[in-house]
């Protein structure tokens, strides 16, 4: 970066557009309605043949018409994960009230997180090579199976050039890694906007791996439940449009939330199992980076895979930081499945929607909370709540942790220009003005403790 850029004061970064593809709905309106309703998107997987697997259930995206959603990227030449990333980016752009020309006039950054990239294309190539041999390898396959294809798909779809683009393959924490990269770039003036998030598509390879480890639930994913037995693989994309507060206010954009900060670390301990102290350390890094005290956090959107080990470890880490007064902690994977690299990006969007619309999405499929997960998981039904600050967790294989903090945007110096005057449906909560965050309680709307045995 140049000396001039380095000298500039850090800028506030806000989220003004969301694009979501998931098993419970495509587009931010459907996604919001589903989260509020506690809808569960489980169904039979049809994108690959699940014959012979113990279970063929998962969270597949339905009703995704790539040709209708994409203007430039040609679906027939493009893998499913890249299609998802490009379509969700366009959705986020539209949702932000922006167009391609606005992006092109400014330096930007595109960072897409993923676990598998275009492994689905490699699955198809494997089948093809087993059938026809080396003729399966065509000239387009190298680029079509490259992981960098996801971010490039966004760039191509929006016809951008003065943009830095990369795909982050930090497994199931990748969405938060991408959001963090975009946050830093915009905050420090390297970019005027960022399109960041994550995308992954269901594929045989990853399904077989989780099934082999016995981590796939036979019926539903039940985060934090005493009887949880595993996860359900899912697919989808979450893309977020970030820009400076100054830019958003100048153009009268509706602001979902402010990105307050984030933390990254690595357990450096075990290839697949999480480590409590290290997850707690990552939460503390994020809180410190965001200048947020634990008591100011109203909600945690947990990684919450529904596997026995993850949930126990994650809650123990949360309680290590928050003590017995942990904020309500929800696992939206019960509704949308484990969308891998998209998971923490969709979690961040859910967090922003909680702030914007004043409700807490539930932990669905819940029967009784595991005593080892002693927090209010907001079972089965969403609750209205005044949500000001949300912690969004992403934990990955390899001990990679990434935690993002989002907060309600406090329109300092613009008190008359609140969010509620911009024609959105939610009028269910009053602004709490500029009271200290520390004075906000966690609300009493939910049956706190009822499910904690």
């Amino acid at each position: 970066m140049s000396a001039a850029e380095a000298a500039a004061a850090p800028r506030r970064v806000v989220l003004t557009g969301c694009g979501a593809l998931s098993s419970v709905g495509n587009g931010v309106a459907e996604f919001t309605a589903a989260l509020r309703a506690g809808r569960v998107g489980t169904g039979p997987i049809t994108v690959f043949d699940t014959t012979g697997f113990p279970s063929g259930r998962g969270h597949q995206v339905h009703g995704f018409d790539a040709a209708a959603r994409l203007h430039r990227v040609r679906p027939e030449h493009t893998g499913r994960a890249t299609q998802f990333a490009a379509a969700a980016a366009r959705m986020a752009l539209d949702d932000a009230g922006l167009d391609e020309a606005w992006l092109r006039e400014r330096r930007g950054t595109v960072v897409v997180g993923t676990t598998d990239g275009e492994v689905g294309e490699l699955d198809l190539l494997t089948e093809s090579a087993l059938t026809i041999g080396l003729g399966a390898f065509t000239g387009a396959a190298l680029g079509g199976t490259a992981t960098g294809s996801l971010a490039l798909g966004v760039v191509r779809e929006l016809a951008l050039t003065n943009v830095e683009s990369s795909t982050i393959a930090t497994a199931c924490a990748a969405g938060n890694y991408a959001i963090g990269a975009g946050f830093d770039a915009v905050r420090n003036g390297r970019a005027e906007w960022a399109l960041v998030g994550g995308a992954d598509a269901l594929n045989r390879k990853t399904f077989a791996g989780f099934a082999r480890l016995g981590l796939i639930a036979p019926d539903e994913c039940r985060p934090f439940d005493a009887d949880r037995v595993g996860l359900l693989t899912g697919e989808g994309a979450g893309l977020l449009l970030l820009e400076t507060e100054e830019s958003a206010l100048a153009r009268g954009a509706h602001i979902y939330a402010e990105v307050l900060g984030y933390g990254l670390n690595c357990d450096a301990a075990h290839p697949t199992a999480p480590e409590e102290n290290s997850v707690a350390r990552c939460i503390r890094l994020a809180l410190e980076n965001a200048s947020v005290k634990p008591e100011e956090v109203d909600l945690i959107s947990a990684h919450g895979t529904g596997t026995p080990t993850n949930d126990t470890t994650e809650i123990a880490a949360i309680r290590q930081v928050y003590g017995d007064e942990a904020p309500r902690t929800v696992g939206i994977k019960a509704m949308i499945g484990h969308t891998m690299g998209a998971a923490s990006a969709l979690g961040a969007i859910a967090s922003a929607l909680a702030i914007r619309h004043g409700f807490i999405p539930p932990t669905a499929n819940h029967r009784s909370t595991d005593p080892e997960c002693a927090v209010d998981v907001v079972p089965n039904e969403s609750v209205p709540a005044d949500v000001r600050i949300v912690q969004n967790n992403g934990l990955a294989f390899g001990g990679n942790n990434a935690v993002v903090l989002l907060g309600r945007h406090e329109d300092r110096g613009h008190e008359d220009r609140g969010h509620e005057d911009r024609g959105h449906e939610d009028r269910g909560h009053r602004s709490r003005g500029h009271e200290s965050r520390a004075h906000q309680g966690h609300g009493n709307e939910s049956p706190r403790g009822e499910y904690v045995r």
Partner: protein, 357 residues
């Protein structure tokens, strides 16, 4: 804000394990020999490439924790071991820890496809090797390196084709600038495999000789570095040429990077292109001819010596600069292009005489 400095580097390359064989080979402008590829699914008996000689993961790293580990992870983990053993064994671990940023193209395509093959061909579709499951996360190489050396900082795996090494460098510099790590081990890696050979040959022609390997550098903040600075990272800038207009977009990227570094094109001592196959590489060479004289273009070794090294290329370009003798203070530049569109440039100030490596 201080800039980041490279205070150590190491490699596993077709010249052998460690920094010295690579530095000597590049300085001597001698291409490493070709050898036969591993016996694996789809391997052709007569296929050769510029492989890391005799590299076997479990021989290189020992038996502990390496069962099923893929070649890409092995190459990376050995490079990180060489880097930390020889240069920084006594470094204190600060609160933020040491980060890892690794550039890759697509993880281990061979490993992924063999896993799927096992699922398709087994008696049951879950008859895959459990020891291979950790490989299925594309961050295996970065996280396994962290596990082996207790590197508890941010741990990023970044994929951007042939830009991967350059972008890994950029991400590492940013992590340091933002105070998110005490130090960062950054670089990029590529494994040779039969599958990668088929994919590459189908895209760029059968004549292309593949290479493999990994180069990692240790980056520290300039004002708190404990190691002797070998190079200062002055600027990294990258863009995309989505329509294949590499000349125009790369020229803009180079000019922007030079401006951010505060140096003129005339003061560049050495310029090292990424040597991409096809039109991307041809246009990249044209940009270098337009901007730099023949001496500047030939001062450092060409990474073409190593064969087509895909995601590892950017890190090899850094190695070519760090290996080249000359007076401290030289300004050097690398560019990268990817046939799929990304282009970029990094500008460095070399602070070593290049001989002591």
């Amino acid at each position: 804000m201080s800039t980041a400095v490279i205070t150590a580097w190491s490699a596993v390359s077709p010249y052998g394990t460690g920094r010295a064989p690579l530095a000597a080979g590049l300085r001597g402008r001698v291409a490493p020999p070709e050898s036969a590829g591993p016996e694996e699914w789809t391997a052709q008996p007569d296929a050769t490439a510029r492989l890391v000689p005799g590299f076997e993961v479990r021989e290189a790293l020992g038996k502990a924790g390496t069962r099923g580990m893929d070649r890409l992870t092995g190459l990376t983990a050995v490079t990180v071991r060489e880097l930390l053993t020889h240069e920084t064994a006594a470094l204190p671990e600060g609160d933020l820890g040491t980060g890892v940023v690794l550039g890759t193209a697509a993880g281990s395509a061979q490993g992924f496809m063999e896993f799927t093959k096992a699922s398709l061909e087994g008696d049951r579709p879950i008859d895959v090797m459990p020891s291979k499951v950790p490989n299925m996360a594309m961050n295996r190489a970065a996280s396994a390196s962290a596990i082996r050396h207790a590197l508890k900082g941010p741990n990023t795996t970044v994929a951007a084709g042939r830009l991967s090494g350059l972008i890994a460098l950029d991400q590492a510099v940013r992590l340091l600038a933002e105070g998110r790590a005490e130090r960062v081990v950054a670089g990029s890696a590529e494994e040779y495999s039969a599958i990668r050979a088929h994919l590459t040959h189908a895209a760029h022609g059968d004549a292309l000789v593949l290479g493999e390997g990994c180069v990692m550098v240790l980056l520290e903040p300039g004002d708190t570095a404990t190691g002797r600075p070998l190079a200062e990272v002055l600027a990294v800038h990258h863009r995309v040429a989505p329509q294949g207009e590499f000349t125009e977009v790369l020229t803009a990227a180079v000019r922007t990077a030079l401006a951010q570094a505060g140096v003129e094109a005339e003061s560049v001592w050495a310029a090292v292109p990424g040597e991409a196959p096809g039109v991307a590489g041809a246009q990249e060479r044209q940009v270098h001819e337009d901007l730099f004289g023949p001496q500047v273009r030939s001062r450092a070794a060409s990474v073409a010596l190593l064969g087509e090294t895909a995601a590892a290329t950017g890190a090899y370009q850094l190695a070519a600069l760090l290996s080249e003798p000359g007076a401290p203070g030289r300004i050097a530049l690398v560019t990268a292009t990817d046939p799929d569109g990304p282009v970029g440039c990094a500008v460095l100030r070399l602070m070593t005489d290049g001989e002591s490596t």
